[in-house]
């Protein structure tokens, strides 16, 4: 039935419905993912960011909020150069994290 207007899907993240089973597996492989304080150092120094919008901080946050699609899309620009690893104040092993995500999360 057409009412002449559409209800767009809510952009709110409903944490009750988020499926974190993949995230939990990722956390097992690289527990450092939980250490992020979202300072943005990684995103600021990322050479891929200007081309693909890659931001490690956003990837981590998106995965924690169950927004896998967005995270995976960003990762496809990553060059694995290791700058994020160098600047991270929390010493997160970002390269391992990225490879682990690339392995676990498909682009479905």
């Amino acid at each position: 039935m057409d009412f002449g207007f559409k209800i767009s899907p809510s952009s709110a993240v409903n944490l009750d419905n988020v499926d974190l089973s993949l995230y939990d597996r990722l956390h097992e492989v690289e527990p450092d993912i939980a250490k992020c304080i979202a300072c943005g150092s990684c995103s600021a120094s990322c050479p891929a960011g200007r081309f693909s919008g890659m931001s490690m901080r956003k990837v981590i946050l998106d995965l924690q909020r169950g927004r896998q699609k967005e995270a995976v899309k960003m990762l496809s620009g990553c060059m694995l150069c290791g700058k994020c690893l160098m600047v991270c104040p929390r010493g997160i092993n970002t390269r391992h994290l990225i490879l682990a995500i690339c392995k676990l999360y498909g682009e479905d």
Partner: protein, 608 residues
Amino acid sequence: MRERFLTGYNDFVLPFMIGMIFILSYCAIGLIRILKQLPKDDRRRFFISLVTPKTIVKNIRDIFCDCLLHVKIWKRNKLLGYMHSSIAFGWFMLIVIGHIEVFLYVPHRAKLFYYPIFFRYFVAETETTMKGAFFFFLMDFFLLLVLSGIFLAMFKRIRSRMFGMRRTTNPSFLDLIGLYSLWAIFPLRLLAEGFTADISGGSFLTKSLNHILNSFLSDHTNMLPAWWAYSCALGIFFVVLPFTRYMHIPTEILLIPLRNAGIKIRNARKGFAKAQVYSCPSCGLCIDACPMGVMKTHIKDTTVYLNRQLRRNNERRIEEISDKCLLCGKCTAICPVGVEGDKLRIAQRSMRKYAVNPDYSGIDTALLPVSPGLADPSVAADDKVLYFAGCMTALTPSISKAMESILVKAGVGYEFMDKEGGLCCGRPMMMAGRLDQARQMVEKNTEIIRRSGAKTLLLSCPICYRIFKEEYRLEGIEVVHHTVYIRRLIASGRLKVGKTGLSYVFHDPCELGRGCGIYDEPREVLLAAGNLVEASKNRKESICCGGSLGSITLGFDKRKSMTENALSNLTVASPDVIVTACPLCRSTFTRYADRPVEDIAETIDRNV
């Protein structure tokens, strides 16, 4: 000379024959399989190399030096070298002389495999002829040589430190069987020949033993059990050989010509990689060499254990070991048989399947223009240098600033390729084993470099330098690391460096030294600026700073002890300043060093 038995046969040769036939057919099948696994063009190249005179000579020389004389082990430790060459060369000579004797005395038996091995049993010779005495002596001499090696080998199991080895591998069960049967072969041979010496003749060793034996065991029937035991030891050794580390003896003979043919690892498990894995003698030299070894927990992640797990197809451990490695290449540099631990690991990583595959085809390189340099724009454009600082140098601006300052002072016209940010060179991606992705980055960067029209590409990061040198196709453009370039500027007089009273130690970055073979240029540069002292382990054996991007799984907290170990190695001669030529080494060392750490560009810029 007389043959003792007309048949020329006794049942005791059976264990030996079974073992021999088994190992020969095993090796033949293995050889065919490895050759079949090689990619077509590699196989062609291999066969061509087998008939090229130059490689033939090289093959023969390498096989003689490495497999028999073990020259590389001699260089490492004299005792260890003697142990290896006495066993290998002695045994080889025993076989060769055995064959010569058969050809000289009983040429009609030459088709029997076992004849040269058990010659003394079947043929009684006399000392009356000069030839007889000569061979008796030679055989005993080489037997003594082998026995001395075996004795050292036994001693090594108790005191490996005497042989320059702090840690060795834990042998597996089959390794132990192989080991004990190998140890048993030669004493048993001595015993057997000792029993026959009064019939078949012998020299100083066997004859003397015969006299002793005769004094309480005069019965000749004791002879047979000894020959049986000797044959059994040989048989057991040959049968277990394919399943032990001793498989390296036949495999190395294949590995050397493969390597000399210029073949590279193209498949993680097949062909050349397989030949390398089976060539590993499990000696454990890589355990002491590995920079991760400072923490006991990492000992089982060294190359020797990678090879063992690859032979067992233990996928979980293979992945663990491959991912942890720093790829510093030290195990490759010191390996006596030439197993390339770093390349083998990259190959394992490259097998992995990922669900997300980065793609850079959308990157428009027009958005990445080169920036003008700070130098006088009037400098002739034809010798224009393109400076690529790289990702890591963006985080250590002191290096790029010093490098630019040197270029300005020397009056070199240059352009800056990634001042406003650039693309990664691809080496970190390659180290992670994602070769297709790395290739894409190589192509994009090549576009930018080609468009700039530069004749020289200058790099201050050895990580970048290595991939630019190895993987980029930049014909007509010289790729040069800044250590080499600065040396050239000094040598040509464009850069005048003043000497300070400071003493410097140079840390060889893995990618620059072992990776690209640049050792002398940085030292020559530093000598122009002050005194040079050396680290306790340097050049080919320099210790990784611990910051390497090669390791995927090693976390930040696990690297501290490696860095501290590398620092204590560097500071044995108490230098005033630690100098390196890699941004990653520099920042890793700065974190824990008790004295200044700088890049060679900074040192020189300060003293111009």
